[in-house]
Symmetry: D3
């Protein structure tokens, strides 16, 4: 009953390269505050960064068999995104799989479960975001789907979508929205650059963003400490 | 219905400088094991240290508007302490606000919610303790109080109190107890210095603290392994 | 009613030295995927490594008295393993106890509760795995057992067993299984060395482990993207 | 930027009625162990049961405005499925909204956040599954989508899909798979009926499911207690 | 260093009786969405209700000695509010203490730790809200304060404040705000009564609360399913 | 590598019957505050009670095969105690297994994972304590041990030990300590009976337990509200 979808359509390398210049927070904002994976996914080392196209892999709890199947579907520029069919924190992923993925040019792993061999993975500088660090071994008994749409850490990831991860976490950009998101990210970054300079020079956000009038309209009052009760 | 209290009374810079020489554990002990914020507040990098006077900011979940209001109330030597009115982990705080605070001489942020842009904040060496790292963006719609007493991570923080944070977490010292706490911390540190030397030389705590008699009185028995059942 | 068992039998130093050459994941696998402590135990710094013989210590929540008793039972090559009788995250362990343990040649601490003074402990390079970092102070009022079998983070640890910790977590190897486990670990490592080389050279795990036939027998199907519905 | 999709296609009432005869566990099995919402969603009373067609509603944390918008899109036989754009436990839903939904013939609510007025909702016998019970009030400030595909408690729910909830939790059945799932559920139930009778009569699952041979082949050994070491 | 404050000022019985007519959600709203204790406090049975004046009690983790001290400070109409100085879930409270409190006319207990003997307490119909149900016993060794301001489950509670608990959780109303809160609660209830009737009659909240214009101004668009992409 | 130990020695039915007359809290106290399973194990209905001899079963995450093996080892008067080799919340146990166990006279199940079919199990009045309620199905692929010592929810359980569960949770009494524990429980109960009567009559625990002197010696001070600063 399980399938492996081959020959998936990936977001173009040029678009991925463009998106890779931005952080997770910027990309999440650029697509209307969507696409963020849950914040319990943490990187195994810092600073960290990776951007690539998603190959998705469904795992069974305590069983990492399908990761071996998924490796074959990965090619240079991909990021492997894996999630168990029910909550798990076992060490589904470790050094040997990372060695295999690295040999194929894969840029990182996002896994809604545990990872092990973290000292070696860190030394390899192979980027991994996971729910837990756990040495717990797994079996190879049960099938799951590879390259079908997957909910990973609360976000829907489809094969070929763009995955970007950094110190803040992981975001997915849908393949068909990659170009628009890149445009939005550039616009946002340009806008923030100017704001950053003004803020660094001591100007207040209250003034830059013209917030004072709206705050007053909503009823915000300023009271001197000596006049405040309590 | 929301207010911003201006002109708050701050603990003197001299007292803050004195307290800044001690770690969180020592200050917590010095004031009778009080004032510790919950241990789920973690620093975004290590080692880390900051000490300053509290400016408090109430946040709404998913809304960071009041942080912009609070910035204006901060001055050199302050630490901004923010907490949502209900549990939240969104990225209420990030690079732009940090840039603004840094320009004002603010020494750090303690936030019972999420923080983002952690790679940049780390590079800026701007100290932040938070409940989560999350890129999740927030809106600017609803008012909250600034510089009113606030429960942050389980501890009551009042504007002008002293906040000290390090690798272990964050402690608050009440303004009116700052001087006494400083005295206690110095006494404790002096006492520990001597103990540390004796322990490093191989003396046992059982002897230094004269615990043997009390342990025996409570009924502690020593049994050789070969005589122990089980 | 509490006892301290003295004169415990420890796994031989030679066996510990042998096991110390392997990571936690390998040792856990080598003994049939057993002996792993829960993954919520995290090291206070990374990279980290320690191997030694267990001295066990039962703690009361909010009370670290028995750690002082346990120190006396420790000798060079030991690792102190402590767990509270009910869940707790207080700072049961810190700099002074570490100073004392280090003076005795103890190699590390595994504690199913909190640790404090983490900046100093990190500077001392004294290995600690804990459930939490917390500056919370504790009292010295109530007795517990030292060197009796203990469930720590979900695993049974008996005095004299081998404890190995690294970036991935902590594993216990039973004293009577230490020799067999060492043999298995060596065999496993040898086997993995060859696999690692082949994987690094681009060979697929599917082929190395001869998985294709069994996957097919279980019913795995490969479908081209353009032929997949959904 | 937010939209409300009107005129959605719903699974037929007949299919929903058919599926409503089965429990969540059976339906989850019937569709290949898929579609289960996370087990942290708990019913506000027990026993509980509801089955209907999904109207989906995206919520902002601390903001329940869109629920009022979603009510208008509900009609008799629907179940309202709501999830916040970032984790939240506030009391997004309560008595007044339930009164409105009940008046429209809505059969229940599934919400990946908090619910309040639970005593009244229980008295009304209005089924709700939620992540938390919380009296925390919410604002009405920010837009979200209604009737777009939504990840709720880790499962993808699309408008018009079938939602079934009982004491065990909540499952979603995709609209296009509803008929096949109903067939599978009936087959499974028939099969289990016979098994249940045999098990109740004292026959062993080992024999009914013919497991002995496979267990032996995998290496399971039976050892008399007096012959077992340990 | 610990004190017991005697002779505390309590909110008047008349005000408490007035507030007791409202649910937790209503009172929380009536005072501007403040005063709610964290939603992890759950009642030991349902339906449940209690209202009274707070006697506060600081606990040490794993130590319930001060509850015995606090009992003496309780009188008819009080609710005992207890919180540990660091997180704990032990069974600090049980049948014997409840028997004693009941004999004194105390109306319930709110405890940010564990409770035991829940079957008996349920049979006694003695209301308790707690963080956990745990049979774990506690010692009687260390002092804490009674009737000093206390942070319990994230909310500041001062002796004599009003505590109201129901199926939704627990709220604190400050003594000096009790009268105003009662007025607001009555106004709110009157307003909701009319709304409830209109909603029950099928009118939409969108119309009753006149939301349509503001939703449109914010940019909400209605799209027919057949015109929506995705 | 997995074994099933047959012919285990069980605590006598008479001792189990004696212990069954006491609650979990009492038994836990009677054996020196030991043997309590973690409080996250919750009963599926209330009130609830069961007492029996342990048959232990190791589970793999997401795999309930060994429960079928364990059933055969159960006989009238047993309680089945199961725990996964790594954390899991899947629905390992449900109606069919309960039917089989009930047919054999088994008195209940304690499982450090999930349970499903809770409505039916409740109707059957079959006692279950679990970590979660989850409909998640499991596979039958991997072996584990039956009737070997097992850590379940943080407590060591050995085959034949006594298990008692009630509304407060679950406790294990070691087979060789069952008689002594029964004696202690009876003594404790007798002692509490008298205390309960005195407390119900209004006498204070402070006086019954003669605590006043020790409290004063520790330094507790009583301060009238009007004399207390703060």
């Amino acid at each position: 009953m399980a399938i492996v979808v081959t020959n998936i359509e990936r977001t173009s390398a040029a678009l991925v390269a463009g998106l890779a210049e931005f952080g997770v927070a910027t990309l999440h904002e650029a697509q209307g505050r969507r696409g963020l994976l849950a914040s319990y996914l943490r990187p195994i080392y810092r600073p960290i960064h990776a951007a690539g196209t998603a190959v998705t892999c469904e795992l069974l709890p305590g069983d990492n068999w399908m990761l071996h199947v998924a490796v074959e579907q990965c090619r240079a520029g991909d990021i492997l995104v894996a999630a168990p069919t029910s909550p798990c924190q076992d060490g589904h992923f470790g050094e040997l799989l990372a060695t295999s993925l690295k040999a194929r040019g894969v840029r990182g792993v996002v896994i809604d479960s545990g990872v092990r061999d973290t000292a070696v993975l860190t030394a390899m500088a192979f980027p991994v975001w996971s729910k837990a660090v756990s040495a717990q071994g797994t079996v190879k008994e049960t099938l799951g789907n590879v390259n079908t749409p997957l909910v990973c850490a609360g976000a829907l990831v489809r094969p070929g979508d763009v995955i970007v991860g950094d110190d803040d976490g992981v975001v997915v950009v849908r393949r068909e929205e990659a170009e628009a998101t890149l445009g939005q990210a550039r616009a946002r970054e340009a806008n923030e650059r100017e704001k950053r300079a003004r803020l660094a020079a001591g100007e207040l956000g209250l003034d830059i963003y013209r917030m004072r009038e709206r705050l007053e309209a909503k009823g915000l009052r300023f009271v001197r400490h000596e006049d405040a009760q309590d």
